[in-house]
């Protein structure tokens, strides 16, 4: 991530690929679909935008 330094800083991107769901739910690496889905559900839950 060199192109958008302010975004990299805002989402604490130090390794890629990094996926940020909502504002606070995140994971690093290529993961299975079900793993992403769990993180999407977490981010979508009421008041639950963090792991």
């Amino acid at each position: 991530m060199t192109g958008y330094p302010e975004l990299a800083q805002r989402y604490r991107v130090s390794a890629v690929p990094k996926t940020v769901v909502g504002e606070n739910v995140e994971f690093v690496g290529a993961r299975p679909e079900a793993f992403l889905l769990e993180h999407v559900k977490q981010a979508a839950a009421p008041g639950g935008s963090s792991l």
């Binding site: 991530m1 990094k18 996926t19 999407v40 981010a43 979508a44």
Partner: protein, 144 residues
Amino acid sequence: MIVSLLSDDIAAELKAEFASLVNPVRLLVFSQALADPESEQVKRLVEELAALDSHLSAESYNYILDRETAETLKVARTPAIAILSGDKDYGIRFYGLPVAHEFGTLVDAILDVSKGESGLAEETQAALDKLDHNVHIQVFSTPT
């Protein structure tokens, strides 16, 4: 002479892949007012892609002057590519120049949007249908 970003081999491969396109796909490029080399490359790449198949069209927008379109599509920065089918917007945006692995991701996104298929498993689709609001997913990558 202008050198193509896509080699003849890649162009031929893409043409074969694009033979499976179903619905028309619009590739909207947003760039800045001042000549920015990365934006210019994104624009050229998208124009070269669009030239490969009649289902594809390239549209160029100025992030500042075409503010309304940028805001409607929630384009957050430049250079950006928004992938739509007609007015159908699945919310797919690429920021920066999609090269190497990300170029493949861009091509996959074009195919998915054209077919109106996410490629997700039925169970995943069913679980997502239950969400009552949109969730923003951002993937950060680097051209390797």
